[in-house]
């Protein structure tokens, strides 16, 4: 089959590789009909997340048809022929974390848990196509994928809804939604959202679903700010204004009730501290650039909440802990507990409350992945979200 392989920093190649096989009793094989490039894949592309191996298949947002199931799969939950969306986190459904609905913290799905323990103390769940520290599972930017614990994660999709409307249930819609849920929104609250990429877009819309009165969206790309405005958000361009001052002004020296970092480890900013962050990241003295996290803590109202759906990989410097402590803030974060959200959000899509396909800017065949990664990273051609079609042929240029 064809698969998108990470061959090194900024080296993405499409290779012919062997088809995946059932390895464990609860595995399934899915023939992929739609797959996507996530903003978090760009952290891998740029080489900022440790423990990828040359030859790894990337991709964690995919859906398709079940073509084979292992002997240990609960057939009531999933069977051959089902059309499914696969969540990016892998969960066993049996450990204490899963029973507590903390699905992305499953104890039993990371074969390299010891690696994650070195960096984090304890290991979160395994993830598709997202470094060996997180399990090293082959990803879904391919024609087929092996899906472990297939009777827990994948959700059945009825016929009649196009892939484009439901494929984002695999990650970014639930991730934005949990980012909003983590804001502890009370009706009428003001929420500031840094990052108007796909997760930010879903987060903005989810904040309104939770009853937010105002959402202030922060980015620098005009097309993304426009998309945020279409959802009803006010916008700030961080190239033009000092974000913390502007938020103070817009909220009458009160501050947003919650601040959301939907950017993560490769945030952009201005000034001396940002230049130092970049230099330290280049020289591997600091893996993450916490520009947005610092702003979110400084901007947040007293007693407010900082929600972090943006991805961080390891350590950060100069976080204003004094502000965090003395203002009595709360931080909520984590990889998304996918299985909590997929069914209710599918129902919202079916009810016509939201059509997630609005974020798509490019639909391309799988072979176009190398160029698509570059385009998405460099924000060329107003790229907000790339959807890849594994079975479509590349058009002759």
């Amino acid at each position: 089959m064809k698969a998108v392989c990470w061959m090194g920093k900024e080296r993405i190649e499409v290779h012919d590789v062997p088809d995946p096989k059932i390895l464990n009793p609860r595995d399934a094989i899915v023939r992929i009909t739609t797959t996507c490039i996530c903003g978090s894949d760009l952290h891998l592309y740029n080489g900022f997340v440790p423990t990828l191996e040359q030859g790894d298949i990337l991709g964690h947002e995919f859906m398709g048809e079940v073509v084979e199931v292992g002997p240990g799969v609960n057939k009531d939950k999933i069977s051959v022929g089902d059309r499914v969306v696969v969540p990016f986190t892998i969960a066993c459904g049996e450990c204490q974390s899963c029973k507590d609905q903390l699905w992305s913290l499953c104890d039993n799905t990371n074969p390299n848990a010891w690696l994650a323990e070195k960096l984090m103390g304890y290991s979160p769940s395994g993830l598709f196509g997202y470094t060996h520290m997180m399990g090293g599972y082959a990803g879904g930017q391919a024609q087929y994928a092996r899906v472990p614990m297939a009777d827990v994660g994948p959700i059945r999709i009825p016929d009649g809804i196009p892939d484009e409307k439901v494929v984002f249930l695999s990650d970014i819609f639930p991730t934005g939604y949990m980012g909003a849920e983590n804001c502890n929104i009370r009706p009428g609250d003001t929420i500031a959202v840094w990052g108007c990429g796909p997760v930010g877009q879903f987060a903005i819309r989810s904040c309104f679903m939770f009853g937010a009165g105002r959402v202030i969206a922060i980015d620098r790309l005009p097309e993304r700010l426009r998309m945020a405005e279409q959802a009803g958000a006010e916008t700030l361009n961080f190239d033009d204004v000092d974000v913390v001052e502007a938020l103070k002004d817009m909220t009458g020296n009160h501050g947003p009730d919650a601040c959301m970092d939907a950017v993560g480890m490769e945030a952009w900013g201005h000034g001396v501290i940002f230049a130092m962050d970049r230099a330290k990241q280049m020289t591997r003295m600091q893996m993450d650039r916490p520009v947005v996290l610092r702003q979110a803590i400084m901007a947040c109202k007293k007693g407010g909440t900082v929600s972090v759906p943006g991805v961080y990989a390891s350590f950060i410097d100069k976080v204003p802990m004094g502000a965090f402590m003395n203002k009595g803030l709360t931080m909520k974060t984590g990889q998304t507990h996918m299985m909590r959200y997929m069914q209710p959000l599918l129902e919202r899509i079916q009810a016509g409350e939201i059509d997630p396909s609005f974020v798509i800017s490019h639909k391309l065949p799988l072979e176009s992945a190398p160029g698509a990664y570059r385009m998405f990273r460099d924000k060329q051609d107003h790229c907000t979200k790339v959807v890849l079609k594994p079975w479509e042929q590349q058009q002759a240029a």
């Binding site: 089959m1 698969a3 392989c5 990470w6 061959m7 090194g8 190649e13 290779h15 590789v17 062997p18 088809d19 995946p20 096989k21 059932i22 390895l23 464990n24 009793p25 609860r26 595995d27 423990t51 191996e53 040359q54 030859g55 790894d56 298949i57 292992g70 002997p71 240990g72 066993c92 459904g93 049996e94 450990c95 204490q96 029973k99 104890d107 039993n108 799905t109 990371n110 074969p111 390299n112 848990a113 010891w114 690696l115 395994g126 060996h132 399990g135 090293g136 599972y137 082959a138 092996r146 472990p148 614990m149």
Partner: protein, 249 residues
């Protein structure tokens, strides 16, 4: 622990999968190779080989203990039954190829070391309390000399069972080989922890997580080196799904 006074003879090897003879050979080869390189890095290699050879030729280092505890979401009764059936052990001890139950309270264990070298030992049960404890030790004539125990203790707060494994072992060559073993994931400390982690997965989820045998793009030298560093090589080429073993959960 009731076998802390277990006698460890000087000639005995260890849980570690290459004996001191093999180590001496390897160290010699490393020295020769380093010297023929006629470069600074070659000299460094030769020196490392020399140190290793010196360590290997030295008498056995003192026996060591490693101990780990995992909380498993099951009852002590069930955990005990699964562990007591020794044929189950290779399902969660990645370094074991097979365990054959013999007559009496004996069993034959076969582990696989580097270069597919088989390491065998006969173990006998030295202590047993149903649903609480199993203790064993290797018998004279085995390739390794080791002893160990596993204890099952119900969490008083009802969150499952604390499973504690303790293994006594000796590493020929001491700290130098221990460091080398650490790199390849063959250090007993690592193996005991991973065995417990996999036991927990097998009991709770019915399988242990793996990516061994999955598809991937061309690894190249870079990718293959990382596979070794991330300890992803395995003694179990056959997928769990094809084993035909009954589901545990």
């Amino acid at each position: 622990m009731n076998q802390s006074n277990l006698p460890f003879s000087r000639q005995a090897s260890s849980q570690f999968p290459f004996g001191s003879k093999g180590l001496l050979l390897g160290a010699g080869a490393l020295m020769l190779y380093g010297l023929t390189r006629r470069s600074k890095s070659g000299l460094a290699l030769a020196t490392a080989g020399g140190v290793l050879a010196f360590r290997a030729a030295k008498p056995q280092s003192a026996p060591q203990n490693t101990r780990a505890t995992f909380l498993v979401n099951t009852s002590p009764e069930r955990a005990y039954v699964l562990w007591r059936d020794f044929q189950n052990l290779p399902r969660f001890m990645a370094h074991l190829k097979s365990v054959q139950v013999l007559e009496g309270n004996r069993s034959e264990w076969i582990a696989v070391g580097p270069m597919d070298r088989e390491v065998r030992w006969t173990a006998e049960i030295t202590g047993e309390r149903p649903n609480e404890l199993i203790a064993w030790r290797s018998l004279p004539g085995s390739d390794v000399e080791t002893s160990g125990s596993v204890e099952f203790r119900r969490d008083p707060l009802d969150r499952g069972t604390y499973v504690t494994a303790e293994v006594r072992y000796r590493i020929p060559g001491g700290s130098a080989t221990a460091a080398l073993a650490g790199i390849f994931g063959k250090h007993p400390e690592f193996m005991v922890r991973e065995a417990l982690r996999r036991f927990k997965s097998l009991v709770e989820a019915g399988e242990t997580p793996t990516i061994s045998g999955q598809t991937h793009g061309p690894r190249g030298l870079h990718g293959r080196t990382e596979e070794v560093l991330f300890r992803e090589t395995t003694n179990h080429p056959e997928p769990q799904a094809a084993s035909g073993l009954p589901r545990i959960a």
